[in-house]
């Protein structure tokens, strides 16, 4: 069973590989947008933190670049963090 970062790395790589055929520019953009749209903030924070700590060990090139392109989470002030 995979845990934590390992699983996120696997998931990010899977996404990047699905888009890889489109070429780097599009693949990175679409991978980032996919993660932004479908991953809950704590998952995005976790992979971002993982990249900071390890330099992105195990991440494919496009996946790594996509993680770098993630935007910060949005917060609805009425709800708080």
């Amino acid at each position: 069973m995979l845990h934590g970062a390992d699983r996120l790395v696997l998931m990010a790589n899977q996404i990047a590989r699905a888009y890889a055929v489109e070429g780097e520019e599009r693949a990175v953009r679409q991978t980032a947008s996919h993660i932004q749209k479908f991953w809950e903030p704590r998952m995005r924070d976790a992979i971002t933190a993982f990249v900071k700590e390890t330099g992105g060990k195990g991440l494919d090139e496009y996946a790594l670049k996509a993680v770098g392109a993630l935007k910060p989470s949005r917060i609805n002030p009425a709800l708080g963090a």
């Binding site: 069973m1 995979l2 845990h3 934590g4 699983r7 696997l10 998931m11 899977q14 996404i15 590989r17 699905a18 890889a20 055929v21 489109e22 996919h34 749209k37 479908f38 991953w39 809950e40 903030p41 704590r42 998952m43 989470s73 949005r74 917060i75 609805n76 009425a78 709800l79 708080g80 963090a81």
Partner: protein, 960 residues
């Protein structure tokens, strides 16, 4: 509501547009050409006596009761087999006709028991009706002659007498009452397509028989009930009807099992269901049904059903029955406490495809508006989430493109990764009818399913691909179509993004995607792949039907994209007979997705980050909403293991049994502080629950389901909820306990709110459904009657989008330790994890899950048919009994997952679809070896389940 009795027109409606006028009994009537005289008469309100005709079946002309006279023609033609002709003058009642009919009836009655008073069909018998209709007053022949009625004649055994066959758990066959009208035989052939029945013997000796002198249960019969419905006498009767008596009122409702969404008349006596009879006006099923919806509703009154709420502090404690107030109060206070302690996003909810639209809508509303988080998901995650993703991307709408009727215009059927005869039986019957009429068939499936070869049907091509290579195969089909110049250029140029098309065409044309280059891993003969592609592209209207064998893969979404590409490239979109048709597993998969049950989207598939959409909901609900997507089911479990997710409200879903990698699921559940399960039974997930809220069945609540054709249909309450509350009321109680101002009086008000918030549902309401029977969304001011076929002039997104689909092999590989591929599926008599069907007599057809294995693979392992075998994967071990069959190829093994003791999901891994995290159920590398019986894990689990299902004696508990 009174008992609904549909008019029987005697013969099916004619489809011709050309009209013919004739005169029947001095009255002029105009009907479509090809209509029978019998039907024409019925349309003007004149019932011609009949016995062998019924409008579900083609006319047969055997009983000679329906004779008429036609001016200028000799003799007395049968009105059921004689078509109308312009200007003819028909008489339905003359002295001659009366005499003949009486004579015919006399013959019938002289070989029929006269126990009408105690006969189960009393009050609903066509033979009795006809005796009345022809004025039969005495029978000249008496009973002394040959007959099938008496066991003994003058103390000597009567050779013609055959005793009752009661082997089928749901209906009986009493040959003594048979009038040999052949309706049952024809129903089994024409409506169901199983060909289980024959007439054995000749002339007076002839009787109906199931197979070769077999009883019904042992025969090919699949217990669909079509013959029972067609039988004009008590010969084939439901056992429940025999026991209870004739119904007195009925309600129209929708089957709660599979995505076909059959319409039924629930025929009642008071609050007791006498029988469920498929409704002829139901547009999904057109009067047909399968064994599940027709007969398997007994779980509603099964003794395992829990009727009282229960709570416990620890999952190792026994359950304690309690009041609704305490149980609901516990949910509210625990969720509040947990949010306070671990943060807003530490709680979530799961809805189910078994829930009504209204229930799913309320659960996601509770999570989003009540708890301020988007951590809500639905079990569609584990089945059809890739469909939503793929079709939204390419066509712009997360749904199938056709209605079921569309298959009647299909010339080439392409089935990928689904087994309609088992998974979607009623639709399969309709598809088979079309195939018998001559449509061509391509099946892409690792197993030789019943569709590949069954009576009167043989697939033109069966491509038994290696599990996990769908993308490569569908892309190879596209390769052939593009490189051999078979693309529908006109369609592509007019309807699709041309630049993207060109890029895609260049991509698939690459030699690496050819059938020859991919054969090595797909395992398919390139010649067959080429021929299949040519047939699909050139054979006329091509329709693609697919199921979980497409979606439940690490590349599930990619395959859906590839299928959409294929349909566009061949111009098979936007008219009857074509299209992309996902066959949804459970009844309300489509509805659950439409209702905004996914963590990233609101109703009508609007992303939660869409400020305009969110604002609409914030205003309607008066609560702030989170603009970030929530956790999906597997993510919730991961987060639980990591300690950031602590409370879960699950309505109608058994994630422990249905989700992959059981150990992962149970670890996640065990790490939570408050798990609330709302269900009929203490399901497997409830072993880890702290609060159990009893749910109710589809018979006990109002609402709507949306089937695989986007058809919204009513679910109707026919009895009071046995647990006290409809499921939507339970969710409302939780909301109220949290201080939310929810005051729905009935489910229709929830649907009205859905309509206000959902552009594709704007005009849908209980009232609309009452008027129209059912409606296929989108239903709004632009399409007030709904939309049977989508993307007619343009795609929902404008131009169709081609997406390049690169085959990426799954990370789940076979190797020396795990050399076989396990793939999973389902069978006809059970539904999903079997919680309901296992609690009905359907178990007689499938008492346990078996492992299908090819004779060669079995032999090298020394496994014999019926042996216990051990099944190991990287995730775990289980054991079950083997079934040796060459339906599966060598290297592939197969099982169903209907029984919890099988623990099939202990084996499946947590690899999942790249886009949606839909688990990869269909590919697991395994090893099979001989064993003596269940594994320790299975035994331990049994023990654990038994323990965790204990319910404390109320008195003893109070003393503690």
């Amino acid at each position: 509501m009174a008992l609904i009795k549909e008019i029987d027109y005697g013969t099916p409606a004619a489809k011709s547009e050309k009209m013919v006028t004739l005169i029947i009994d001095d009255t002029e009537i105009t009907v479509p050409e090809g209509t029978s005289i019998m039907r024409a008469a019925m349309e003007m309100g004149t019932t011609i006596p009949k016995l062998c005709a019924t409008d579900m079946l083609d006319s047969f002309g055997s009983c000679r009761l329906c004779l008429v006279e036609i001016e200028g023609r000799n003799g007395t033609p049968a009105s059921c087999t004689t078509p109308v002709a312009p200007g003819i003058k028909v008489k339905t009642q003359t002295q001659r006709l009366k005499d003949i009919r009486k004579g015919v009836m006399e013959l019938y009655i002289s070989d029929h028991p006269l126990d009408c008073l105690t006969c189960p069909a009393n009050g609903d018998c066509e033979l009795e009706d006809m005796a009345g209709a022809v004025g039969l007053r005495d029978v000249r022949y008496g009973y002394e002659g040959e007959n099938h009625v008496f066991k003994k004649m003058d103390g000597v055994a009567n050779d013609l007498y055959i005793g009752k066959d009661e082997s089928n758990p749901y209906f009986t066959y009493d040959p003594a009452k048979c009038i040999v009208c052949n309706r049952c035989v024809r129903a089994c052939e024409e409506v169901q397509g199983t060909f289980a029945l024959t007439i054995s013997g000749r002339g007076f000796d002839s009787r109906v028989s199931a197979g070769m002198n077999e009883d019904f249960l042992a025969s090919e019969c699949v217990s669909c009930g079509a013959c029972v419905q067609a039988c004009p006498t008590a010969t084939l009767s439901e056992k429940a009807l025999i026991e209870i008596g004739q119904p007195e009122h009925s309600h129209i409702t929708t089957c709660a099992y599979c995505g076909v969404g059959c319409s039924f008349k629930a025929e009642m006596r008071g609050e007791e269901v006498v029988r469920m009879v498929p409704w002829k006006d139901g547009k999904a099923n057109r009067g047909h049904s399968c064994v599940k919806g027709r007969f398997a509703y007994g779980y509603a009154t099964h003794r395992d059903r829990i009727m009282k709420p229960m709570v416990r502090d620890k999952i190792t404690d026994p359950w304690r029955e309690t009041t609704w107030e305490e149980a609901i109060g516990r949910v509210a206070s625990e969720f509040k406490r947990i949010q306070g302690q671990y943060g807003r996003r530490s709680v979530g909810g799961i809805t189910s495809s078994r829930c009504t639209n209204e229930e799913s809508f309320l659960v996601q509303k509770l999570i989003r508006a009540g708890f301020g988080t988007n951590n809500v998901d639905t079990c569609a995650r584990v089945c059809h989430s890739p469909t939503g993703y793929g079709l939204k991307t390419t066509f712009g709408e997360s749904a199938g493109t056709q209605d079921f009727d569309s298959v009647e215009d299909t010339d080439v059927v392409l089935i990928i990764g689904c087994n309609p005869t088992d998974g979607h039986p009623v639709f399969a019957s309709r598809m088979k009818k079309r195939l018998r009429e001559g449509a061509k068939l391509i099946v892409i499936d690792p197993r030789r399913t019943d569709m590949v070869r069954s009576p009167h049907i043989e697939a033109d091509y069966h491509l038994p691909l290696q599990p996990g290579t769908n993308v490569a195969v569908v892309t190879a089909l596209a390769h052939v179509i593009v490189t051999e110049g078979l693309v529908d250029e006109k369609f592509v140029n007019e309807r699709c993004e041309v630049e993207e098309y060109k890029e895609w065409a260049a991509f698939v044309a690459d030699p690496s995607h050819s059938p020859e280059a991919t054969a090595e891993y797909t395992g398919l003969d390139p010649k067959e792949v080429r021929a299949a592609a040519r047939l699909f592209a050139t054979g006329g209207n091509g329709a693609i039907y697919y199921g979980l064998g497409v979606t439940e893969h690490s590349q599930g979404s990619t395959t859906v994209l590839a299928i959409a590409n294929l349909a566009m490239a061949t111009g098979n979109i936007g008219r009857p007979g074509v299209g992309v048709n996902p066959l949804r597993g459970q009844n309300n998969v489509q509805g659950a997705c439409d209702m905004g049950s996914f963590p990233h989207e609101l109703t009508a598939y609007r992303h939660v980050s869409d400020d305009t959409a969110r604002a609409l909901f914030e205003v309607e609900w008066g609560r702030p909403l989170d603009p970030e997507p929530g956790l999906r089911i597997p993510n919730m479990l991961d987060a639980a293991v990591e300690g950031t997710f602590k409370a879960l409200y699950i309505e109608g879903e058994d994630i422990l049994q249905s989700d992959p990698n059981t150990t992962h699921v149970s670890a996640g559940l065990a790490a939570m502080e408050c798990v609330v399960v709302q269900d009929l039974f203490l399901n497997e997930t409830a072993n880890y629950a702290h609060v159990f809220l009893p749910g109710c069945t589809f018979l006990e609540k109002d609402g709507t389901f949306t089937n695989a054709e986007r058809r919204v249909q009513r679910v109707t309450k026919v009895m009071a909820p046995k647990n006290g509350y409809a499921d939507w009321e339970v969710t409302q109680l939780i909301a109220q306990a949290l201080g939310l101002n929810w005051n729905y009086k009935h489910a229709g008000e929830i649907l009205d709110e859905i309509a206000r918030l959902t552009p594709t549902f704007t005009n849908i309401s209980f009232k609309k459904l009452e008027e129209m029977g059912s409606v296929q969304w989108p239903c709004n001011d632009e399409t007030p009657e709904g939309m049977p076929i989508m993307h007619i002039e343009e795609f929902t997104r404008g131009k169709g989008k081609f997406v390049m689909t690169e085959y990426v092999p799954t990370d789940e590989r076979t190797g020396s330790r795990f050399p076989l591929i396990l793939t999973t599926g389902r069978i006809l008599s059970h539904y999903n994890v079997g919680a309901q069907t296992r609690r009905t007599a359907n178990v007689e057809w499938h008492p346990e899950d078996r492992l299908e294995i090819h004779p060669h693979d079995a032999e090298v392992r020394g496994v014999n048919d019926g042996d216990w075998v051990r099944l190991d994967s990287r995730a775990g071990t289980t054991a079950l009994r083997a079934l040796i069959t060459d339906r599966v190829a060598t290297g592939v093994v197969y099982t169903t997952f209907h029984h919890p003791t099988t623990q099939a999901n202990v084996i499946t891994t947590d690899f999942s679809d790249w886009a949606t995290n839909c688990p990869e159920y269909k590919v697991t590398a395994v090893q099979v070896s001989k064993s003596n019986g269940p594994t320790d894990y299975q035994d331990d689990y049994d023990e654990f389940s038994r323990k965790s299902r204990r319910i404390a004696e109320p008195v003893k508990e109070a003393a503690e």
